[in-house]
Amino acid sequence: MTPGRTVRLIWFVTWFNVRILLASEFFILTTFIAPLIFATLAFFLFRSGGGTAGQTLLYVALGAGMMGVWSTTLFGCGGAIAWQRWEGTLELLVNAPSRYDYILVGQTLGAVVFGFYGILATLAWGVLLFGMPIEATYPLILPLSLLAAIVSLGSLGMLIATTFVLYRHANALGNLLEYPIWLITGLLVPVATLPWWVHPISWLLAPTWGMEAIRGATIGAAPPTLAIAMCFVLAVVYYIAARVTLVFVLAKARRDATLSLQ
């Protein structure tokens, strides 16, 4: 497949996945409301804790928005595979002549599109309802930090989604992963407040660096160059890991006949 056809394929799968997700009322409800609820909770918690600094408020709000984005990503990447299994289209996708990892990348990007909405909605919600100032130490780096953070969540979602191909009940595992990722990647509380033994696990998870990039851009003492770079490096590592995993997962699915199980 030529690079041009590969790009076209990924773009097409992305576009199609966006359309499929938008056709689901449940997804729309979750995606459009969850970031706003999390952001609202964060604003009230921040104020009740006596916080007033505009930059810190922005950091807290964006962290809450990222929690919503992670929920959306899990649903968009992993839940989509569970849904395809139920519809009977998973076999067709896996058995198409196109490489399945490209299809999975397209599906992930389709979910990530909604991540951008989550972040923008959080910002708009904060400004309009809570008078949150868009103040950051490095305002020009903040958009790049947000992009890196969304990429970090999407790449982790894609890696987790590879296991969904194998097990028909894997989406239950996906739901279980929602809260631990919030916790250990610093979306809910800063990683520094967690026990020391959690830190190495956090560093292996791209969203930790995504949140660190947001923290650095909003209230950091130095530009979050390392954190942004780590997001993209880990995204590439996750993609390679997903490809390797898929080789084993697809071979096992052909051996165990699990693709058509509902």
Partner: protein, 343 residues
């Protein structure tokens, strides 16, 4: 690697075996091996319409899934257009199309044409070709004018026709159809058969599974009858009918026939096989015999007090040949396949 030359079969299955691991029990799980396919071998020539005919659970779908690279064979080998289905998966997938019967396998929440555009992309149809190809296939399957409607609003027949269009998007050389007419009304099923025939006329190789005898008889150049994971007969429809050509079929309509009475018929030396079809109020006994219609009186006397309605003696059909094959090979084989080994 693909073999070359005119003699290369389009499809080649060599002693294919497929087992599934499963278990019984909830608290105390006992592992169990089920043999779905138990050593199937056949060849399909390029341009041939080949039928796999068998009852539910015979191993037809498992065989197809191995041939289209969805399942790995437990042992044996298979090639499609000379490419190995285990190792040359991409080459096989580029050359095959497949259509599964039933409601699943489509994106319900988008339109028919969006489904086709998506799969055209996944199947590597050139962008410049897609519009023309999709329009031609919509015309072929009779969905022109309905393509912009959401699939969730399609009837069973429309969904099935969309399945066929999807399977033909990349102009495959070999087409696998797994019970494509299941759930279709008679008119839809007839149109489907015309479509399948036109594909073969256009030079495609088609492997079709069905449990409708008339469909296999009307369409297929050759038929393999499969039962309990094995091929029990292979030949043209006429060949299969010849196997019981000497027999006469006596159809006896009964009301409340007992198992004992049916057993008395089966034990008769001149009776080759007895099958029973349940109707609303009655049971139709299909008795095969080589003694011609002369046996009718004896059959009626063997039924004793059973209330009898219409009695007809006729020539055997492919369905009778099929029933005979399944009945004579079925019970022990099926038992053996269902629980080959309980570990």
């Amino acid at each position: 690697m693909a073999a070359s030359g005119a003699a290369t079969p389009a499809i080649e299955a060599i002693d294919l075996v497929r087992t599934y691991q499963t278990h019984t029990g909830v608290l105390r799980r006992r592992p169990m091996t089920v043999e779905a396919v138990r050593g199937i071998s056949f060849e399909v020539k390029p341009g041939e319409l080949f039928g796999l005919l068998g009852p539910n659970g015979a191993g037809k779908t498992t065989t197809i899934k191995m041939l289209i690279t969805l399942l790995l064979p437990t042992s044996g080998a298979a090639r499609v257009m000379g490419f190995d289905v285990v190792h040359d998966t991409t080459a096989v997938r580029q050359r095959i199309g497949y259509v599964f019967g039933g409601d699943r396998g489509l994106y319900d929440r988008v339109s028919g044409i969006d489904n086709l555009r998506y799969f055209a992309e996944l199947y590597g149809v050139e962008p410049s070709e897609q519009r023309r190809r999709i329009a031609a296939l919509l015309e072929l399957v009779g969905l022109t004018g309905r393509e912009n409607e959401k699939v969730e609003g399609y009837s069973r027949g429309m969904r099935q026709r969309l399945h066929i269009a999807r399977g033909l998007l990349h102009d495959p050389e070999v087409i696998f159809m797994d019970e494509p007419s299941i759930g279709l009304d008679p008119v839809g099923a007839r149109e489907l058969r015309q479509t399948v025939r036109s594909l073969v006329d256009a030079g495609k190789t088609v492997l079709l599974t069905t449990h409708y005898m008339f469909e296999a008889d009307a369409l297929c150049d050759r038929i393999a009858v499969i039962n309990a994971g094995r091929i029990v007969a292979l030949g043209s429809g006429a060949d299969l009918k010849d196997a019981i050509a000497e027999r006469t079929i006596v159809e006896i309509e009964t009301f409340g026939v007992t198992d004992e009475a049916v057993e008395r018929l089966r034990r008769d030396d001149d009776v080759s096989a007895v099958n029973m079809e349940e109707r609303d109020q009655s049971q139709i006994l299909l008795v095969q015999s080589e003694r011609g219609a002369h046996i009718t009186q004896r059959l009626l006397s063997l039924l004793g007090d059973t209330r009898v309605g219409k009695v007809v003696a006729r020539e055997p059909t492919l369905e009778d040949a099929y029933v005979h094959l399944i009945a004579t090979t079925g019970h022990d084989e099926a038992r053996a396949a269902r629980a080959a080994s309980v570990q």
